[in-house]
């Protein structure tokens, strides 16, 4: 195979791997925005929280409890940490965000920004600001797979496949099930849905929990790849905002497709001009704003 093509494919795979996180986070952001009209700035911080919970379950919980042999591993963490993040998200919705629904949405953005700073500050205090590696990667996912054009880490391949399943599952629930129909109806006209006898405040809380749970899940998936650091979410959320501006927040599938594609593009950019890989998503955002300001999947301007 031509070495250039090989390089592009390899960087593309790594880029796709970042795209996983773009897709899962912008998906959660879009689900939340649809029903609540809230842009959750804390989404990145909750992703960070998910990663830290996985780390804590493996490394810290045992010593804290005096049970040095206790390591809650990756698989249980993959279930527990997102549930805990979702629970935390629901507390935020119930006790803080709910007071702001009648106001301009910038207030909920600012509130969640404040939550971001608090979470970040707390974790910088208790953990190394520059990051801690996650030691709990399961043995079954260690090693590499030969993709023909490159040796690809087995774990990363798992992450790509797993997240595609999660994204598709989310799309299926929202677009094809009865619960999803209620959610879509609530997005359109919450007042009427309430008048039909559906407990909309509860639905809003659960939806926020679901969206933040997705962020937590992405965090657990990220833990074995990137080092777990208090700032891992803050830098990501800004990229996610650009992804969301590019894709438009109106469509679930749009969020997922945009997330994966931008990861891919970012990866391939590394092949041609590495310094631009940081900014290529932002530059694409600029182009989209010039050509199609409502976003690729946005419905109106």
């Amino acid at each position: 195979m031509d070495p250039m093509i090989r390089l592009i494919l390899a960087q593309g795979m790594l880029g796709l791997n970042n795209g996983v996180f773009y897709a899962m986070l912008s998906l959660g952001l879009a689900v939340i925005f649809g029903l609540l009209n809230v842009v959750n700035f804390a989404h990145g911080a909750l992703y960070m929280l998910g990663a830290f919970l996985a780390l804590i379950l493996y490394s810290n919980l045992g010593p804290w409890l005096g049970l040095d042999a206790l390591h809650i591993g990756f698989w249980p963490a993959l279930v527990l940490a997102p549930l805990m993040v979702a629970g935390f998200g629901m507390l935020i919705e119930r006790f803080l965000l709910r007071r702001l629904y009648k106001l301009d949405p910038i207030y909920s953005l600012l509130l969640t920004f404040g939550i971001t700073l608090v979470l970040q500050g707390v974790f910088i205090n208790f953990f190394n600001a520059s990051g801690t590696p996650y030691p709990g990667m399961p043995d079954s996912l260690k090693g590499v797979v030969n993709l023909g054009f490159m040796m690809f880490p087995k774990y990363r391949l798992f992450v790509i496949v797993f997240s595609i399943i999660v994204c598709f599952g989310t799309w299926f629930i929202i677009e094809r099930t009865h619960i999803g129909a209620r959610l879509r109806a609530g997005t359109e006209n919450p007042e009427l849905v309430k008048a039909f006898g559906i407990n909309v405040p509860l639905m809003v809380m659960l939806t926020f929990g679901f969206g933040t749970g997705l962020a937590g899940l992405a965090g657990v998936l990220a833990a074995p790849i990137y080092s777990v650091s208090p700032l891992m979410g803050a830098n990501l959320i800004i990229v996610i905002f650009a992804v969301v501006v590019i894709g438009g927040m109106g469509s679930i599938l749009g969020a997922v497709v945009t997330g994966f594609s931008l990861g891919l593009i970012e990866g391939i950019t590394k092949v041609f001009y590495a310094p631009a890989s940081n900014t290529v998503i932002f530059l694409l955002m600029v182009i989209v704003l010039l050509v199609r300001p409502q976003g690729l999947f946005g419905k109106h301007g």
Binding site: L100, N125, L289
Partner: protein, 327 residues
């Protein structure tokens, strides 16, 4: 946001009179505080207060008087600091010209960012400005002249008009004080001009302003450029005061801090951002011993302001004295 009863109360003759008096007192207090500050505070700290106060006042022109939430104002503040620092240090520009260069750069950058961001409204506007500011941050990190992680160091203060030595703290202080007062007066004039009235009409009801025949986008863009330029003035001045420009100045957290200053002091008030800036900067100073808990305090203040205290300090005072719109 103001309801009709409040509006009528504001425009009643006795309120107008009381408003003028209270505003006069505030002006006097502000000027007095600026003049005597170096007798009470370290000059560098006092100058830091003035730079951030100017930054917040400039920011407030957008959020408070036009209703646009920019989440990327650090780009103008920090970007101007780098440019001013570079022309002062490498090209040997005199102080005023250096500061003006930084200001013009920020205004030009503001024009570019504004042009893109006003293509979307509301919450998207905030996200776009945040993302665009991140490009500026990456430039500051990667460009050869910025010094990367170390920042741009060793910016000379130089001689004002070729004769006043700005390395003397008091000379520098009164120069910064003059910059601040000029910037503040510019914002005050803008807000009270017909242009400012249109901006406030846009904030209150954009579709209505549009239907009255105003070119809303042009007004928004002009407000954005002005706000960015004055934020750049603050950033350039800060670079001259501290003699360096750093990544912190261009970081998104700085954009958040200027929002907090404005929110805490009172969005859409004239004096609020000054009060907010003084409190936030002083708080950071006092709490510098507790490390990153400062961030928790700042975040907590944010949450408290949004939930309980949306008028801000000056906004609340104005309401108590029934002089809304005059402070």
């Amino acid at each position: 946001m103001t309801d009709i009863a409040e509006f009528e109360a504001e425009t009643a003759p006795e309120t107008m009179k009381r408003g003028r008096v209270v505003q006069g007192i505030m002006w006097a207090l502000l000027i007095a505080a600026v003049l005597i500050a170096p007798a009470l505070l370290y000059p560098v700290f006092a100058m830091q207060l003035l730079c951030f106060a100017l930054f917040a006042v400039a920011f407030n022109l957008l959020i408070g008087f036009t209703g646009l939430l920019s989440f990327g104002h650090a780009a103008f503040f920090g970007g101007a600091a780098y440019i001013a620092g570079h022309v002062l240090k490498v090209w040997g520009f005199p102080p005023i010209l250096g500061i003006l260069t930084g200001t013009l750069f920020a205004a030009a950058l503001g024009w570019l960012v504004g042009l893109l961001a006003i293509r979307r409204q509301g919450i998207y506007f905030a996200m776009i400005t945040l993302a665009l500011a991140q490009i500026v941050y990456f430039f500051a990190l990667q460009m050869p002249f910025t010094g990367g992680e170390d920042g741009l160091q060793g910016i000379p203060r130089g001689y004002l008009l070729g004769m006043i030595d700005l390395s003397q703290p008091l000379n520098m202080y009164y120069f910064v004080a003059a910059v601040f007062l000029i910037g503040f007066a510019v914002i005050y004039r803008v807000v009270h001009s017909p242009f400012g009235q249109v901006l406030q009409a846009i904030r209150e009801n954009e579709p209505r302003a549009l239907s009255l025949g105003y070119n809303v986008d042009r007004f928004k863009l002009l407000a954005f450029v002005l706000s960015a330029g004055l934020a750049g003035l603050a950033g350039s001045t800060k670079a001259l005061v501290f003699q360096f420009a750093s990544l912190t100045d261009a970081h998104w957290q700085m954009s958040g801090e200027v929002i907090l200053m404005t929110l805490l002091g009172g969005m859409g008030t004239i004096f609020g951002p000054v009060v907010g800036a003084v409190i936030v900067v002083a708080l950071q100073h006092m709490l510098s011993g507790i490390g990153s808990w400062v961030q928790v305090v700042i975040g907590g203040t944010f949450i408290a302001c949004v939930l309980l205290f949306r008028r801000g300090i000056v906004g609340e005072i104005a309401r108590m004295l029934k002089v809304g719109g005059w402070l």
